[in-house]
């Protein structure tokens, strides 16, 4: 073995400080639940609202505020597809690929988006404006094919609508 005696390897001493407002908001969330781990999702959403994603350092920081292990926080953060553990663009486009949308023009819509943005699923445009992701249902079957940009759901979306639609998200 190469390690010498008495060496304790410190891999990381991450002391990421949460924004004070976020920390307050997380502590407030704690009141709503019997168990602190129940507030994990809300805490992660609070952090994601600030940074657009969940930076690595926030995981142990959230764990400290909640009083639970960082592994539990990371477990939740990586479980949900809409909690982002990698940086995303300024706007996140979710395109619905479930059955109604699939039957009503999802393929064309996706092709058009890919062509227009020059990115595929999980990628971000070079100007960091858009990230493209699939979503399994937006609950907007009456407006299929549907897509969502940030907090706004659109449908039915035809390929030719895209230009105008995307213009609204600089």
């Amino acid at each position: 073995m190469t390690d010498s005696i008495d060496t304790t390897r410190i891999i990381s001493s991450d002391r990421f400080e949460l924004h004070p407002a976020d920390e307050t908001a997380i502590v407030r969330e704690l009141d709503h639940y019997e168990q602190p781990q129940a507030a994990t999702i809300e805490a992660l959403k609070i952090v994601q609202r600030r940074y657009g994603w969940i930076p690595d350092g926030t995981i142990p920081a959230i764990a400290r505020v909640l009083g639970i292990g960082p592994a539990a926080v990371e477990g939740v953060a990586t479980f949900y597809s809409l909690l982002f553990r990698q940086p995303v663009g300024r706007h996140v486009i979710l395109i619905c690929d479930s059955s109604s949308c699939f039957l009503t023009g999802f393929d064309e819509l996706k092709a058009a988006l890919v062509q227009q943005l020059g990115i595929d699923y999980g990628e971000t445009t070079q100007d960091r404006r858009f990230t493209l992701l699939p979503v399994c249902c937006l609950g907007a079957c009456d407006g299929a094919p549907a897509m969502m940009i940030d907090d706004d759901t659109y449908g039915p979306v035809r390929p030719e609508d895209l230009d105008t639609l995307l213009e609204g998200y600089p």
Partner: protein, 907 residues
């Protein structure tokens, strides 16, 4: 009891089990992954499918997961059903899709549960032709290697690490078929029980890193039933040897002590056996401070006996880390009046008190496994995880067992782990801990009370008074302590089986008396509870039973010149007494004989050093904290691979020396005769003869094999010395053979199992074949014999006492046990050394102000060389400082210490 029908056969099973458990208990094979005997069922892996029928007329039935189906009366199932078999084969095929074809280079190979189950289901052709996902592996510390590509996502690791052992830094990330089991970032796994993952993981994701550094397949290892030497709990271990070195320690199932798990000190602390600096041949120093000269055995014994003959009186200093047999031979050689236990006077008097309270305290001593059935626990002045490792896991299970009670009220079976976890959340059986520093059990504790020894004793006596008003009240009790005492008393009285745990860590007779008073009070109030005392070392209890003077007495006799010869048995006196004191005593003796398997500061002073056998090269008996005597057996013959070695059990050396001193030829002895002689000489130890079978024990006319059937390479392993294969070593002391020839099966009930193996079962899960039922006892009975019994009779209460206060004003020392670094032998093992955290001195911030030190300062204590980092704790008891065990030999709890800033430490 319930009757179930399996493939048309009728069986009687435990109706509280699930079908998987019941079938495995019957010896029937059903493949499984996520289920584990100690952790119950979650039904995640779908591997244990069987067909279940509604009744005798139902010929269609349906597939069920046997681990999630109760073994209720008249259940009808088929394991061999064709569809069930196909289903199980499919499940393995899916699980294997991403599993690499790396068995030949995988360290799990040969004791891999995944291999076993894959073979068992008949999945032997891979149809999947596509890319496998690959994962980055993490650095997890010196104990475990991580290879995530092999993961089959059974969740056992996180269920053990988090749910069972209370860890928080290992988790699972991702979702669906994209899962990652690891820390949230690289780093040392914090749990002191992390090493169990190497056995809990059904495949090679978590493997023993210490084993990896000198790897040998399980089938090529030589094993013997061992007893862990690193604390007083006496966990059963299977040490494995190859080429004359110990390669790994695996858990050896014991139904009443360690069950399926060990602590990391026990698992990774074996490195002291393999050290290069061990004495291998007798050494002699003509003059002190000269380099020693190697002697052959006869020459050494001649010179040694000549030298001893010229002494007026010989003092023998025994050791609580040596076997009863060796201590007995020393006692016999020097005479009881000249025999010291090698234990400090304060500790020795505590040991005697613990033994007495075990007999007369009014409550029985539970076995470690029985602790898990106690529904209210008070830990008085101990930090169990640090002082008795594995015991901490038992205590955690006791607290968690509330879930099973809650489950029972709504019909959730005890094996239904995930349901119970959801139901229980943070509802625990009450566990109260009186201990100044944070403990690893605080997360399941109802309260921890940061008091010094004086406060803890007061609290204890107050609890006794609160339980039984006939117990004397504590004068001048603070209202705060009174409140706490009432709360604890309520919990203990409200429980079916309350348990009081105390021990020697605070070296306080008052604390022990207080624990005894609580037990007495509970017993007078007709409570069936338990009382358990933690000792410091592997054979502390045994030496207490054997009796003898204290180490202080021995050093005094030598220093005063009352004796001019000393024989030290497997004991580094410099670990136990202040160096100046030992120097003075040893310098006055004309002859110092030291027997040890380690090179220590004491062997460095000796006229004669005799190379003793460690637990791996010799056999002997230890007594654990329950008073259970257990035998450990020689794993390998050290001369087989190193013919130059002259290592023998200390009891053998001492027997020959004694004979030579009497001018007699040494008679033939073996382990059995020494054990018998020890039992004859010490009535308290009479039971040790029955602890394990003698050398003439045979099963089906065979010795018991130390090596698995497939042991390979024996003809070649000595080829660098001679091309003729030497005769295998012969064993005169035990019923085991240094060979693969001999009995190694599970059909005949036996207690002493060197390694668990059964056809089709190469992994540690093979233990299920050796037990009477899952999680039960070994079919031949769990090893060991209790030597200490309770005498059921009420006794009068003692008035509350407090410890005598040593002279002087100032901060007083508390020695805090540490799992890593707090014990001499394991601290010589490289992986353990890497886990020793830098030493800290803990105090109250007001005491820090008075002393002029602040957190982070480097300070020195008295004249000891080690510097410590100052750490302040808000609720730390005033007037006390916490110091790590193992650094301050001779410093007693309660001693006033001088603290000064280390140079360059800053202030």
């Amino acid at each position: 009891m319930a009757i179930i029908h399996v493939d048309g056969q009728e069986y009687e099973v435990n109706g509280a089990h699930n079908l998987l458990q019941a079938c495995l208990s019957l010896g029937l094979d059903i493949p499984y992954f996520c289920w584990h005997p100690a952790m119950g069922s979650v039904g995640a892996c779908r591997q244990c499918a069987v067909r279940q029928y509604r009744d005798a007329d139902d010929d269609k039935g349906m597939l069920v997961m046997s681990c999630m189906a109760p073994a209720t009366d008249q259940t009808r199932i088929s394991i061999s059903d064709e569809e069930a078999q196909r289903f199980r084969a499919s499940v393995v095929e899916w699980l294997m899709i991403n599993h690499p074809h790396d068995c030949p280079v995988c360290e799990e190979g040969g004791h891999c549960h995944l291999q076993d189950v894959t073979v068992m289901t008949g999945h032997d052709r891979r149809r999947y032709r596509y890319r496998k996902r690959t994962r980055r592996n993490q650095y997890l510390g010196p104990f475990l290697a991580h290879e995530m590509n092999r993961c089959i996502t059974c969740y056992r690791c996180v269920r053990f690490y988090n749910d069972y052992a209370g860890g928080t830094d290992l988790g699972v990330s991702g979702a669906r078929d994209n899962l990652y089991f690891g820390r949230y970032e690289d780093g040392i796994l914090e749990s002191p029980f992390a090493g169990n993952l190497s056995e809990v993981c059904p495949t090679g994701v978590f493997t023993d890193q210490s084993h990896s550094d000198h790897y040998t397949r399980k089938w090529d290892l030589q094993f013997a039933p061992g007893i862990c030497q690193h604390c007083s709990l006496g966990c059963n271990i299977s040490p494995g040897e190859r080429y004359g070195t110990i390669r790994r320690i695996e858990n050896r199932y014991h139904g009443e002590v360690n069950g399926h798990f060990l602590c990391d000190r026990g698992r990774f602390g074996y490195g002291h056996v393999n050290r290069d600096d061990r004495p291998l041949v007798p050494l002699w120093r003509d003059q002190p401070d000269q380099p020693p000269i190697s002697l052959d055995v006869n020459d050494a014994l001649n010179r040694l006996t000549n030298a001893l003959r010229h002494t007026r009186r010989i003092i023998g200093i025994g050791s609580p880390r040596a076997s009863l047999e060796s201590n007995h031979q020393l006692q016999a050689l020097v005479g009881a009046e000249n025999f010291s236990t090698g234990i400090d006077a304060g500790e020795l008097s505590c040991l005697a008190l613990m033994e007495k309270l075990q007999q007369t305290g009014g409550l029985a001593t539970p076995t470690p496994r029985q602790i898990e059935q106690h529904d209210a626990i008070l830990v008085l002045g101990e930090d169990p995880v640090q002082s008795a490792g594995r015991l901490g896991l038992h205590l955690r299970q006791a607290a968690l067992a509330r879930r099973e009670i809650l489950g029972g009220t709504i019909g959730v079976a005890a094996w239904n782990a995930e349901a119970l976890k959801t139901l229980g959340q943070d509802k625990f059986h009450p566990l109260h801990i009186a201990w100044p520093a944070p403990t690893d059990l605080d997360d399941v504790a109802a309260g921890r009370y940061p008091l010094g020894p004086d406060g803890i004793a007061q609290l204890g006596f107050a609890v006794a008074h609160a339980i039984d008003p006939a117990a004397p009240a504590v004068p001048q009790l603070s209202s705060e302590l009174h409140e706490i005492a009432l709360r604890i008393a309520d919990d203990l009285m409200g429980a079916e089986r309350p348990l009081v745990i105390s021990g020697g860590s605070l070296a306080s007779r008052a604390v022990l008396q207080a624990a005894g008073s609580i037990a007495q009070a509970l017993s007078r109030r007709a409570k069936a509870g338990g009382l358990l005392f933690i000792r410091r070392e592997a054979n502390s209890t045994g030496l207490g039973l054997m009796g003898g003077h204290s180490l202080n007495w021995a050093l005094d006799e030598l220093a005063k010149g009352h004796a001019d010869g000393v024989i030290v048995l497997e004991n580094d006196l410099y670990q136990r007494a202040h160096a100046a004191r030992v120097d003075e005593a040893l310098a006055r003796a004309a002859v110092q004989v030291v027997l040890d398997h380690q090179s220590t500061d004491t062997t460095a002073k000796a006229t004669f050093v005799l190379p003793a056998a460690s637990f791996a090269e010799g056999s002997g008996t230890l007594v654990n904290l329950e008073g259970r005597a257990q035998r450990f057996f020689q794993v390998y013959d050290p001369t087989y691979m190193r013919p130059e070695a002259r290592i023998h059990e200390s009891w053998h050396w001492l027997h020959v020396i004694a004979a030579r001193l009497r001018d007699e030829p040494a008679t033939d002895i073996n382990l059995d005769t020494v054990t018998q002689a020890c039992a004859n000489a010490n009535p308290a130890l009479a039971g040790i003869v029955e602890v394990a079978p003698g050398a003439d024990y045979r099963i089906e006319g065979l010795r018991l094999a130390r090596e698995p059937h497939r042991y390979s390479g024996r003809t070649a392993m000595g080829a660098h010395m001679t091309v003729s294969e030497p005769r295998p070593a012969q064993d005169r002391n035990t019923p085991f053979a240094f060979s693969m020839e001999g009995y190694s099966s599970f059909h005949r009930p036996r207690q002493q199992v060197p390694f668990a193996w059964a056809p089709g079962w190469n992994s540690p899960q093979a233990w299920n074949k050796f037990t009477d039922e899952i999680n039960g006892h070994l079919k031949g009975g769990d090893p060991g014999v209790r030597l200490i019994y309770r005498t059921p009779k009420h006794r009068d209460y003692r008035e509350p006492v407090s410890d005598p206060i040593p002279n002087g004003d100032g901060l007083r020392a508390l020695i805090l046990p540490r799992l890593f670094g707090g014990e001499e032998l394991s601290a010589r093992a490289h992986p353990i050394q890497q886990r020793i955290t830098p030493p800290v001195l803990i105090l109250h911030h007001r005491d820090g102000e008075d002393l002029g030190v602040s957190p982070g300062d480097q300070v020195l204590v008295n004249d000891y060389p080690a510097s410590l980092t100052v750490q302040e704790q808000d609720d730390w008891p005033r007037g006390w400082t916490g110091l790590p065990a193992g650094l301050f030999p001779g410093l007693a709890v309660g001693d006033v210490i001088a603290v000064r800033l280390a140079q360059g430490g800053g202030a």
